[in-house]
């Protein structure tokens, strides 16, 4: 994965409710007068995310507490940066929005690069479903990989409805692209081969590659970055493509005739995490509570189809918009959650095998 790759725009925000205002009741220590001039730096995904977070979280948080929040972008899996910062004690960032695999990566060794947040019993955080929580992260967004296709390419004939259809090159003719990385791709092959969503992990790698062999010659493009996907969908370079849903939605918003197959979507979680040892850890905790409020999460929908992590947020979101969210009940229930632990243990071997597979 180049620095270019990975799921910039896959991310969406989801977050469950917090009682409105509870987050505002920050401890006295963070009242504006005491916290004047204080600043935390948060790594986020840039672009529309920085814009949305700035309007919904960063700005209002500063007004409420006096703590300035600066959002900075970095590559999608900034594990190397976080490791360097904590090792060197140079906290360019205080906290980061990172994926579940990244959290595991940074905390599975002897040295923990992230700080336990300890917010489990906080009234705002407690309403968040368990699947969006971990010791080192509070879920803020669910991203997901779906099958997207150009509806103009399937005019007058049956359109694909599943990963099995994507792998059926005779039944669903069209130009295809596949990600040049095994993440999600292995799962797609297994689902296409008839593995039930609950049985995907641990992955039967041999079976997956056998299935992948069947379409290898029919893949016209192997993509590496989300931007590439969006360009290919918009220009009609390919007709079928597995992609982070946000890229497909963005191409559709730009006027391209793109349809999304939500069934069997493969979803993962992004969380707020605090860098181990940062002097601003407590300010970060206050910010996480603030940003986990259902009402604020719902407000993100004005900017993009966020994967909110507080179920109560959907009470405040227009139902029409809500069905574009990866955490909309119908969507999340038909999906498979990425097993971050499985990938942490197996990624080195599978990435190597996938790269070899590409070259032969």
């Amino acid at each position: 994965m180049s620095i270019l790759n990975q799921g910039w725009s896959r991310r969406r925000l989801l977050k469950t409710t917090a009682i409105a205002g509870a987050a505002l009741a920050a401890p006295a220590i963070w009242t504006p007068s005491r916290a004047e001039g204080k600043r935390i730096v948060v790594r986020d995904d840039g672009g529309i995310y920085t814009k949305a977070y700035g309007a919904v979280f960063y700005g209002p948080f500063q007004e409420a507490t006096g703590i300035e929040v600066v959002g900075v972008q970095a590559n999608a899996e900034p594990t190397a940066q976080i490791r360097s910062m904590v090792d060197a004690g140079a906290y360019t960032w205080d906290m980061a929005k990172i994926s579940q695999p990244a959290i595991l990566m940074l905390t599975s060794g002897d040295k923990k690069y992230l700080e336990p947040h300890g917010l489990e019993s906080d009234p705002v955080i407690a309403t968040m479903p368990k699947q969006y929580m971990s010791e080192y992260g509070v879920g803020n967004n669910v991203y997901t990989t779906v099958l997207a296709y150009r509806s103009d390419a399937f005019e007058g004939r049956e359109a694909p409805k599943s990963w099995a259809d994507f792998f059926n090159v005779e039944g669903f003719e069209g130009r295809r692209a596949l990600r040049k990385h095994p993440f999600d791709t292995i799962e797609q092959a297994l689902l296409a081969d008839g593995v039930a969503t609950k049985d995907v992990y641990p992955c039967d790698i041999d079976r997956a590659f056998k299935k992948l062999d069947t379409i290898k010659q029919n893949i016209d493009v192997f993509w590496t970055s989300g931007a590439q996907v969006e360009q290919m969908l918009t220009s009609g370079e390919v007709d079928l493509i597995p992609t982070w849903v946000s890229r497909a939605q963005s191409a559709r918003a730009g006027g391209a005739p793109v349809e999304i197959v939500w069934d069997q979507n493969i979803w993962g979680l992004d969380s707020w995490s605090i860098l181990a040892g940062t002097p601003n850890a407590d300010a970060c905790r206050e910010f996480i509570k603030f940003a986990s409020d259902a009402k604020r999460q719902a407000a993100l929908m004005e900017y993009f189809a966020a994967g909110v992590t507080q179920p109560a947020a959907f009470d405040l979101i227009d139902p029409k918009v809500a069905q574009d969210s990866p955490t909309f009940p119908k969507n999340i229930e038909s999906g498979v959650q990425i097993d971050a632990k499985y990938w942490l243990d197996n990624q080195a071997a599978v990435i190597e095998r996938y790269n070899s597979w590409l070259l032969t």
Partner: protein, 589 residues
Amino acid sequence: MSAVSNRTRSAPMPGWLKNWLMIAPLLLLLVGFLVYPVGKLLSLSFVDAEGFSLAAYKQLFASDLYLRVLWITLKISLITTLLSVALAYPVAYLISTASPRMKGRLIFLVLLSFWTSFLVRAFAWVVILGRNGVVNQFLLSIGVIDRPANLIYSLGAVLVGMVHAMLPLAVMTMLAVMENIDRNLPRAASTLGARPGAAFWTIYFPLSMPGVAAAAIMVFVTAIGFFIVPALLGSRFETMITQLIIDQVQQTLNWGLAGAISVLLLVVVLIVFILYDRVFGFATLTGESPAGTTNRDTAARRAGAKILTMVGDASDGLIGLFPGSGKSTDAGKTPWPLTVFVWTILVLISVPAFLMVPISFSQAGLNWPPSGFTTEWYAQMWNTPVWTQALWRSLTVALGTGILSMLIGVPAAFLLARANIRGKAALLAFVLSPIVAPRIIIAVGLFYVFAELNLVGTSLGLIIGHTVVCVPYVVMTMVAVLRNYDTRLDLAAQSLGASPAKSLYYVTFPILAAGMFSAFLFAFATSFDELTIALFSSGGLSATLPKQFWDEVTLQVSPVIAAVSTCLLVFISVLIFTADRMRQRSLAR
């Protein structure tokens, strides 16, 4: 810093001390900000939790993946090098013969695409070569083909993208040398009866070889580090080694294996250097004494001369086929097929940059053909201060990098080109190592050093980091230029009473001006386009322009990048036009 070699008459200090002072800044820079940080990272490949271990290397050779990808990388880099040098040579030649006015314009065209981000250029090729891209739509509309041809996602497309990216480097390096070739020599050959082809191939071409050699080496080592262009334009077969290193650094945090792959890469490149030295000799670059070189390879040299004579005869035969041009006996006159060829190349390499102009006003986004008219993208750019901030920061850093690289690189180049010191080839390889070492490894290593020095996120840190990777371009260009510089001119000035400093100022520098300008421009432009170090050592705070481009391209394929590119194009054009005007005026005085 005196540039006078140890041949100077009354040297106030011993030769070894002078030599040392000329190269010390470069060595200190590289040891402190390359060897130390990179070495620290690479040493991780020899340890595991218990201590010394070769586990990373076992993993490296357990699968044939890494060797295969390395082979692919070398193959792509080599083809890119051959194509770039072959295409750049006529361009550089024509520019070197052009009038000063024309020269400015031609250089402007060569460097045009250089000022937009490499990401923008890569995406431009996607738009041009895609299934519904510019070329396919054109061919469909005139009925040459009835369904879109597969032009992209292949080795060919990768080569187009890479050669395009490398041409400016190759042209500028060769130009720096060609500017210093005495035009009277081929002319003298003509007077003595040589036909234009023979005069060119037996006289001019050998004199231009240091430029060719320098360009080839620099293009090769730069190409090895490419990965975004192959990823965007290639098929599943075009995986570059840098990509695998980045995966290990970022994705799996396996810095041991990343170090092992890097060591493998460095070793292989070193072997390529040694082979190069055996076959061509670094003498072509550094200019060993004539005695040394003739002793070395007499047979090969004779064979080479013979081949050149044959090529000369053959081309004279060819020239004879073109009506009108064969009669010319003036070797300085440019044959028209050359002019046509060069202009075709110049137009082709400018296409991606100019493509951004219509797209920046289009409502269709980064798609072809543009439709509608909007200034929305310009408004978006204008309304966010990040673009102008990033531009100023990039300009500051690039200017600082250019100046620092020159201050450190030029004296070192004088030493490498002139002094008789041992281990020159090794020294040269060392100077080139910042380009060979994977950028991501340098970036991660530098972060730790910068953290200790409190330089994280500062302009100074960025300037130092960029100087490390830019100084090789300065040294190589200057070494190649100095190879052709006649030191007797300095001696003449001094024998007429000029002090070393005065002869440097009044004789040496004016003659070397074109080469120094090339070198500076290259350091400037490389810094201006540098992403990895900027990304890593600034932590995302205070972005530079490439980083801003990168954010924009990775996050949303926003046509704002087309608007920014167009503005840069205008900005650079105005800058160059003004500089040109000022120069003209100072000449007129």
